[in-house]
Amino acid sequence: MTKEEKSGDLIEKESEHRGDGLHHAPGTFTLTLILLVSFVVYYFANWKALADVWHVR
């Protein structure tokens, strides 16, 4: 933040600031994709583990 702008003011003014609509955050987007992939792998591994111990015939 610019040193002149006090963080307290930012927090207070925040509710008037509605957001810019569009924003550019490709790094965060990549992080979320990594999270998604990790989740899919982990979730699948758990269903596999369940299938290994719990046979359905």
Partner: protein
């Protein structure tokens, strides 16, 4: 709003005071660093709540080290009796006392400083604090006296000394008084028009936490009062299945208070450390709304293997409804780092995908603690949580070490680390003391995070092989049916022990500078020294 830059804090001329919310003259100061108005009564409560919180964190931490060294099978430090006693002590000191004292401090801060309001009632503030403090001391005393080895869940028909239940009721009532005082402050701020439009997002998050807390505490009263009466033989029976159901309305919902409070702290620290601005108010607020409406239903995941409740009840509450709350966490998990990224890119750190991340203020423990908290909560806590909460998968994980492996990533690597990061701002801004040992503060979030991640992995892997939680004797020696585990289990229990010990070091690296700063630190004159 005009920007004031007063030279003498707390001594504003009356004319300027008029523009400062509903504070009577002489009852507030203006923070030279943030420009926020700090209500002096609220400030006192924030201080004593924070001090108590850190004391209980230390007590719970000592028990944590003993537990980690007991679950490390090569060390196996405590005997069985003290293992269960310390498990009870650790769970309650950490999950209830450290967290609740911290949260009341955060609520008081949000409603007063961020809304430019006075505290609704100073008397209620004292009454609530007194109940909590007396209850907390009673609770620790009765556990250490060996009269309440019932674990924090105190499932009936396990029976503790009546003081134990009474102490929990006192803590709950005190917290409820604090929460009501917070809501009343939000009410008078609106009545007195100390702000225009909607409350700031951080306050909205705090309101979310408070609402969930009301539901939590009602369940707490609903179950602890009958159990207390049973412990003094006034009623002769508490149904174990109903106990578990209502108790988890307390035990799980309180975790959702933590989530809401932690997310609010993330937004606050994003602003304080890199000047991040909320990307979209509507999206973030709607995500909090989803918490309010749906997150508490997830309590049912604790009863996924209980025989009494139907599959319909289990699946509706843990799957359909809960995923709406998971959606909310994913929204915050995107908007918070994205706001940080946008802010850093605006400051010129635009190189590649992650140039902004490299340029972030990693030496500022307020930032590193906050960002590590976000990563640990999202990647480890979130992924394991959604998986364990799936009705079918739960059957292979229930009551194994995978469960503490999950929640040490949420409530410790997530919430507790975020609260520690917050303390790196609370001490200079509210206590107005400088931190000594600044190198230790800078390293602390990394040490603590590394320790917790290691321990969480050790627990999760040992648990995957079937090692039970809350169990002193992993091998179940002398059991009719001998138990045998894959030998690698002991390696993972070693990882648990080493990670736990490292986390304990990280905890001390937080407690020592904080205590030194609060009691012996150099006074912060005017502006807080930048991290």
């Amino acid at each position: 709003m005009t920007t004031l830059d007063p030279t003498v804090e707390g001594a504003l001329p009356e004319t300027e005071a008029a523009g400062r919310g509903n504070h009577p003259p002489g009852t507030f100061r203006v923070c030279a660093t943030t420009g926020l108005t700090v209500d002096l009564a609220a400030e006192k409560f924030i201080k004593i709540n924070a001090v108590f919180a850190v004391v209980f964190l230390l007590l719970g931490g000592i028990a944590a080290l003993l537990l980690a060294l007991t679950r490390w099978s090569a060390v196996h430090l405590l005997n069985a009796e003290w293992y269960y006693r310390m498990t009870t002590f650790h769970g309650l000191n950490m999950l209830i006392l450290w967290i609740l004292f911290m949260e009341i401090g955060i609520l008081y801060f949000a409603a007063t400083a961020l809304l430019k309001s006075r505290l609704a009632s100073v008397k209620a503030g004292w009454a609530g604090f007194a109940c909590m403090a007396v209850g907390a001391i009673m609770l620790d005393a009765v556990i250490l006296a060996g009269k309440a080895d019932v674990m924090m869940t105190s499932y009936v028909p396990l029976r503790a000394h009546p003081t134990f239940y009474l102490a929990i009721i006192l803590v709950a009532v005190g917290t409820l008084i604090g929460v009501i005082n917070f809501l009343a402050t939000v009410y008078i701020a609106k009545r007195d028009k100390t702000y225009s439009g909607s409350v700031p997002l951080v306050v909205f998050g705090a309101i979310t936490a408070a609402i969930i807390a009301v539901s939590t505490l009602l369940h707490g009263a609903g179950i602890m009062i009958p159990t207390f009466l049973w412990s003094i033989d006034v009623i002769d029976h508490v149904d174990p299945a109903a106990y578990r159901l209502v108790w988890w309305g307390l035990g799980h919902q309180s975790q959702q208070v933590n989530v809401a409070a932690m997310v609010s702290v993330w937004y606050l620290l994003g602003t304080l450390t890199v000047g991040a601005k909320v990307l979209n108010q509507g999206v973030s607020r709607t995500a909090f709304l989803l918490y309010i409406l749906f997150i508490n239903l997830a309590s049912a995941h604790h009863l996924l293997v209980d025989p009494g409740v139907s599959a319909g009840w289990k699946i509706w509450n843990t799957s359909y409804a809960m995923y709406l709350a998971v959606l909310a966490s994913m929204i915050h998990g995107y908007t918070v780092p994205a706001a940080v990224e946008v802010a850093l890119r605006k400051q010129g750190h635009t190189k590649g995908l992650f140039g902004w991340l490299g340029a972030a203020p990693w030496k500022n423990p307020g930032f590193s603690g906050f960002f590590l908290s976000l990563l640990i909560f999202g990647f480890i806590g979130g992924i394991t949580g959604v998986t364990l909460g799936t009705e079918q998968i739960n059957i292979i994980a229930h009551n194994t070490l995978r469960i503490p492996g999950h929640f040490h990533a949420t409530v410790v690597g997530g919430t507790s680390l975020a609260f520690m990061a917050l303390a790196y701002y609370v001490v200079p801004l509210i206590f107005r003391r400088e931190f000594p040992l600044r190198w230790m503060c800078r390293a602390q979030p990394y040490v603590f995070a590394a320790g917790i991640v290691l321990m969480s992995l050790g627990m999760s892997f040992a648990g995957s092989y079937g090692v039970s939680r809350r169990s002193w004797d992993v091998e179940a020696s002398g059991a009719l049916h001998p138990v045998s585990y894959d030998p690698s289990v002991h390696v993972w229990l070693g990882v648990l022990g080493i990670g736990g010990s490292l986390a304990f070091v990280g905890l001390l690296m937080f407690v020592v500078p904080t205590v030194l700063a609060v009691f012996f630190g150099k006074r912060v004159e005017a502006k807080m020294p930048a991290w």
